[in-house]
């Protein structure tokens, strides 16, 4: 499986039909609910479902269209997330050139991922941009609070771009005897990550008592965490036909991705708490900003890629 032999697997078609049927049912049900009882929570549900339509359509583009379209879309999502983080992080006026350089790193990083220059892909941001951004900041000459900008800008670039660009690597994964292809891998990653959030939320609502991170995210409980991760592992086992993973490998991957999803979610929550924000932006109605939605997948994407290459 590589970029050259691009095809659409029948498993993907079935599963996408399933996704869109569920979305259609949700849309109709929620708008009926909203019509009968126009309350804020019902409106939120309608908005959220509408946003999920856009997310599902974007996912369709990524897994069905030729890889170049998905690569461009994911690169743009990285850009939006980075712009969002720069906007809320209180950057200095003298960081402007460094921010410009950071934006420029996005197309380069995705080009390296798309062309599968793997060594350069791994080194470009952690080594190259880390040094270049520090250098640009030093050349700017303003040393007041430079100790904050110097680690912050590369870290935001790592989070929003380096981590997310691992999804594009999945287009290039070579696995023998695996027919579903990159679309299946990406769908698996997105499904596991989103449903992990949902499972943790539902278990927390149902059984949650003891808080797991009271100072970071008061809504997260031990029951939500453990229940969510275990359910994610089972879910991963159920949809393992989308991946080349064997039975127990799928279970382990599900467990690890569940923990990582929790970690990503808490990471963004901690940053928001520090900045005293509820959401990172109001870009996606009902969801908040791009980073509010991407929080878990930022961490699960590279972990999944490395687990996959380790197992196969």
């Amino acid at each position: 499986m590589s970029i050259q032999d691009y095809h659409i697997a029948k498993e993907l078609v079935y599963i996408l039909i399933g996704v869109f049927s569920v979305l259609t049912i949700c849309s109709i049900a929620f708008s009926l609910m909203h019509k009968r009882n126009p309350s804020d929570s019902n409106k939120e549900l309608v908005l959220r479902t509408r946003s999920w339509w856009f997310i599902a359509l974007g996912l369709c583009l990524v897994i069905l269209a030729p890889p170049i379209f998905g690569t461009i879309l994911i690169a743009y999502i990285s850009f939006v997330a980075l712009r969002e983080m720069f906007s809320i992080s209180g950057m200095r006026e003298s960081d402007r050139v460094a921010m410009f350089v950071a934006y420029f790193a996005i197309p380069i990083q995705y080009y390296l991922a798309y062309k599968m220059y793997f060594t350069q892909f791994l080194a470009f941001i952690p080594l190259g941009m880390f040094m270049l951004i520090s250098f640009v900041l030093v050349m700017g000459g303003n040393t007041a609070k430079i100790g904050r900008s110097m680690p912050l800008i590369p870290t935001l670039l790592m989070l929003t771009t380096y981590m997310l660009s691992h999804i594009v690597l999945l287009f290039n994964v070579e696995v023998s005897d695996f027919e579903v292809g990159a679309g299946g891998l990406i769908f698996y990653l997105v499904a596991i990550t989103s449903f992990n959030d949902v499972f943790q939320f539902v278990w927390g609502k149902a059984l949650g008592k003891r808080k797991i991170l009271p100072t970071v995210s008061p809504n997260k409980t031990w029951a939500g965490f453990v229940g969510g991760v275990l359910t994610t592992a089972v879910f991963s086992y159920c949809i393992r036909f989308l991946t080349p993973l064997a039975d127990w490998e799928a279970l382990v991957t599900g467990l690890i991705l569940g923990v990582m999803g929790f970690f990503g979610d808490s990471l963004v929550s901690a940053v928001k708490r520090d900045l005293q924000l509820k959401d990172t932006d109001d870009l996606i109605p009902g969801h908040g900003g791009a980073m509010d939605r991407l929080d878990s997948i930022l961490i699960t994407a590279p972990v999944f890629f490395h687990l996959l290459t380790f197992f196969t």
Binding site: R83, F86, S87, S89, F100, K278, D282
Partner: protein, 218 residues
């Protein structure tokens, strides 16, 4: 012909760049529906303010709306004059009164009498980001002389970060334009009208800060 050019330019080029690349968010843009003539007043931090306000206008208003700009800054070269006129329908006025020259207020009043709309920044110059400095009285005089024309208050947040004074490097950062309700100031004296305009912009600023997502600029 120029109207068509401006429509294509602002709708197909400027607005997609502003929303998709720069990250401009328009709030309550709907209030401009059904208004034929107005004086739009906003706080001023960046040259980008003018571009974003023009891009926010409904297509049919583009030709009849004029940006009020300073002659001593934009009238320096004929090229600058040409582009200001082409993209902003700009009226270049003198900030300092000169002997014998027509007064700036008189020129703007003439435009309003012809049914044109104006965009102006009563601070007179680009101020510090997030601060609103004292307003010049011109806008209040115009509103007093033309009681049939409403003013539309606008609060622009974050443009001073995208393109600050004294630089040409544009950085994409989320920024917001918030429109307020159009308002007829009614028969009052100039100071009261000026206070009214300023209060409306400040209340938009307040509303913006209450927004559930607050941008942080140092």
């Amino acid at each position: 012909m120029k109207g068509l050019f401006l429509r294509i330019f602002y709708f197909l080029i400027v607005r997609p760049i502003l929303t998709l690349i720069i990250g401009v968010r328009f709030r309550n843009r709907g209030i401009m529906k059904g208004i034929n003539q107005f004086i739009m007043v906003g706080n001023h931090n960046s040259h980008f303010d003018s571009v974003a306000l023009m891009a926010a206008l409904p297509g049919k208003m583009l030709m009849n709306t004029h940006m009020v700009a300073a002659n001593d800054y934009f009238g320096k070269s004929s090229r600058s004059k040409f582009f200001m006129n082409l993209f902003f329908n700009s009226i270049l006025i003198r900030r300092q009164r000169e002997e014998g020259a027509p007064s700036a207020i008189g020129v703007l009043d003439e435009y309003l009498k012809q049914g044109k709309s104006l965009i102006l920044f009563p601070e007179g110059t680009r101020g510090e980001p997030g601060m609103i400095s004292d307003f010049k009285k011109g806008v209040a005089i115009l509103l007093q002389r033309n009681p049939q024309i409403p003013f539309i208050p606008v609060y622009l947040n974050g443009f001073g970060r995208v393109l600050p004074k004294d630089t040409f490097l544009i950085i994409p950062l989320v920024c917001k334009i918030r429109f307020g309700q159009p308002r007829h100031p009614g028969p009052h004296d100039i100071d009261t009208i000026l206070e009214m305009v300023k209060e409306d912009i400040l209340s938009l600023k307040h509303e913006d800060e209450k927004d559930r997502n607050q941008f942080r600029f140092e």
